[in-house]
């Protein structure tokens, strides 16, 4: 279903980013205006130690065909959380929707842990200035761990459909070590939650909605859903649990599923048809996909090699 490959459409090295940020434009997610399409992404600053990053929200306003960058935010779109909060060490990604004259943002907040590297939870932020800046309604998350989703709840994607709000998101299942003494790697899956108001959510608590392709330790993240031609289409990314940072054979690829009722999904990765060609900007890794209808045409934005360190690209889709 790839109609046209646009290649990389945004490279952070070509622009001035928010304070302290130089590289990374991860997890592009759109907000539509009459004259342009705004693409929110996460970029990174380096901690004073030089050893760790912090992710920050930024955006690029682009022509609806993603051919031209019109403007890049150089200001702080959303400050990180206070000491000890769930989003103190990074916000990545953020999904935005228009609701009641406001822009609502569903964030994934990161905080560092001792025995494992991180935990995440889903936050809620609101913009009253057309998405230039966002504010929190409170210091805590709106969706975090529960009995059967013990950690790493994040990557929310929200769609208003069938009389309510639907959220697809990531939840952690377990941390596993490849060999004795190696750093723990996480296993996560995609779940589904529903809400009447977009703020108070009911999770299924531990129910994985997509089958595994790489076995029980497959990691599934960043779901994105649109309705087109009478059915719902989902893209997401998946990878092996170990070795995914350095071994292109174990790195992220983009998966696809479709549904008519938002409850039962048929996974059919091959139908997407996004091939991998060594040497390309996305020849080692394809990740963090986002489905959007821009200028009346369906596109998928996504990141390539090195988790989007050098930006994001796009394909135009022919969805059936």
């Amino acid at each position: 279903m790839i109609l046209r490959r646009l290649g990389k459409v945004f490279d952070p090295a070509d622009h001035t980013l928010p304070p302290g940020c130089k590289e990374f434009a991860q997890s592009p997610q759109t907000l539509h205006f009459d004259a342009f399409t705004r693409v929110y992404f996460s970029t990174r600053s380096t901690d004073p130690s030089g050893a760790t990053f912090r992710s920050h929200m930024a955006f690029a306003d682009m022509t609806p065909d993603f051919a031209t960058v019109l403007r890049v935010s150089a200001h702080t779109v959303l400050p990180l959380g206070d000491l000890g909060t769930f989003d103190e060490h990074g916000i990545f990604p953020m999904n935005v929707i228009r609701e009641g004259g406001q822009i609502w943002g569903y964030t994934c907040g990161w905080n560092r842990r001792r025995s494992v590297s991180v935990d995440t939870a889903i936050g809620f932020v609101v913009s009253d200035d057309q998405g230039e800046t966002f504010r929190r309604l409170g210091p805590g998350p709106i969706l975090g761990p529960s009995l059967n989703e013990p950690f790493l709840v994040g990557d929310a994607f929200v769609l208003k459909a069938m009389g309510g709000f639907h959220m697809w998101y990531m939840f952690g299942q377990r941390w596993v070590t490849e060999t004795a003494g190696s750093a723990p790697d996480r296993v996560y899956k995609i779940g589904h939650a529903t809400s009447l108001d977009g703020l108070n959510w009911a999770k299924q608590d531990g129910v994985q909605i997509l089958p595994d392709r790489l076995g029980p330790d497959e990691c599934q993240a960043l779901p994105s859903v649109i309705q087109w031609s009478g059915r719902y289409h989902m893209v997401f990314c998946y990878r092996a649990v170990h070795g995914f940072r350095t071994d292109p054979a174990k790195g992220y690829r983009i998966g696809y599923a479709h549904s008519t009722d938002l409850q039962r999904w048929t996974r059919d990765d091959a139908a997407l048809g996004l091939t991998v060609q060594a040497g390309d900007w996305d020849g080692e890794m394809q990740c963090y996909p986002h489905l959007t209808v821009s200028g009346g045409r369906p596109f998928m934005l996504y990141n390539g090699n090195a988790f989007g360190r050098r930006g994001f690209g796009a394909v135009e889709l022919s969805l059936a």
């Binding site: 206070d82 000491l83 000890g84 909060t85 769930f86 103190e88 060490h89 905080n111 560092r112 842990r113 001792r114 025995s115 494992v116 935990d119 939870a121 809620f124 309604l137 409170g138 210091p139 805590g140 998350p141 709106i142 969706l143 975090g144 761990p145 529960s146 009995l147 059967n148 989703e149 013990p150 950690f151 952690g172 377990r174 941390w175 723990p184 996480r186 531990g206």
Partner: protein
């Protein structure tokens, strides 16, 4: 002249320290501390759950376990037995309770014995975070198994971290969970200290909770007063809460350490704080001369007792006091 029970201070007779973990041998996980006592009445004994610690690791960091002692029902100052093992293992890698299960509160209902407990993880920018877990026992409260690897009540917009100190109760056919929730981390002499307040949630099944989402008890000593151990019971036609409170800074001292407070309520939501009525303060000398904290009030065979901690927040164990007057615990 008569004493009005709705305004007079409670009159407690201190019975002394009844359990000192440092005198127990053969249990490497029980070296020091017997914190946050919580009673479960059995036929012959009062089983008092508490939380304890093995020696710290090479970096000086502790983990915590929960266990119990059985006290003589006719003379609760007599220890009859001590748990052979912790009632609950620590959580798995990366889970909320990987580094501690403290404190614990037990309830028996519908032939079930359930524990709600604080689970501790270790963080980088602040020393720890705490969330509330749930576990059940099928052997009379000797051992418990988790209902899941995650916590049972969520962090939320206005309860962002450090949810701890659960006390599970059942009033009016609903489970009530009293707990504390952190409001901020305050830098004190270069070290983050949590500020927390007393909160409440209700549930029909004990698993899905509706938060009241507001502080129950006003602060007294300072705006950042830390409050803990919200211990609620119903007697004489009203709800009573004993709790403890302290300053947010330099609280490891006599002057600024934990004291026991008191509040009452007609409806569990609106509380009137009257610390002067708590009736249990530090002693001039001895094991509870520096601070008193973590009150738990229970009723056995017509007598009301308070279990509480003394100096070092329970490092040396817990003690008991007996209420001099009768309270009607009937419903």
């Amino acid at each position: 002249m008569s004493i009005d029970p709705t305004t007079a201070p409670f009159s407690w007779t201190k019975l002394g320290k009844v359990f000192d973990p440092r005198q127990i041998s053969g249990r490497p996980w029980l070296r020091e501390f017997a914190q946050a006592p919580a009673a479960l009445l059995l036929d012959d004994v009062i089983r008092v759950y508490f939380s304890c610690r093995p020696p710290p690791d090479a970096l000086g960091q502790y983990v915590s376990y929960s266990a119990y002692v059985d006290l003589d029902r006719t003379d609760p100052t007599r220890v009859l037995d001590v748990a052979q093992n912790p009632i609950l293992t620590l959580g798995g890698l990366g889970t909320f309770d990987e580094f501690g299960t403290y404190p614990v509160s037990i309830i028996r209902h519908d032939n079930r014995i359930r524990a709600y407990y604080g689970g501790w993880t270790r963080c980088v920018s602040v020393p720890f975070n705490v969330a509330i877990g749930c576990a059940e026992s099928t052997d009379g409260g000797v051992s418990f198994h988790r209902l899941g690897p995650g916590p049972v009540i969520p962090y939320s917009l206005h309860e962002p971290f450090v949810m701890s100190g659960p006390k599970i109760r059942r009033f009016n056919d609903l489970y009530h969970l009293f707990y504390i929730a952190g409001t901020s981390w305050k830098m004190v002499e270069g070290r983050p200290e949590p500020v927390y307040r007393i909160r409440m949630a209700t549930s029909a099944d004990g698993l899905t909770w509706t938060k009241l989402d507001r502080n129950l008890i006003d602060t007294v000593v300072e705006a950042d007063e830390a409050q803990a151990s919200p211990d609620v019971f119903f007697a004489d036609g009203r709800y009573h809460m004993f709790f403890c409170y302290r300053y947010s800074e330099r609280y490891r001292s006599h002057a600024r350490g934990y004291r026991i407070g008191y509040a009452h309520s007609p409806d569990l939501i609106s509380w009137t704080r009257e610390d002067a009525r708590a009736g249990l303060d530090v002693s001039d000398t001895g094991w509870d001369s520096e601070m008193v904290s973590y009150p738990h009030v229970f009723h056995v065979d017509g007598t009301t007792y308070m279990a509480y901690l003394g100096n070092g927040v329970g490092r040396e164990g817990f003690g008991l006091a007996r209420l001099a007057t009768a309270l009607n615990w009937g419903t």
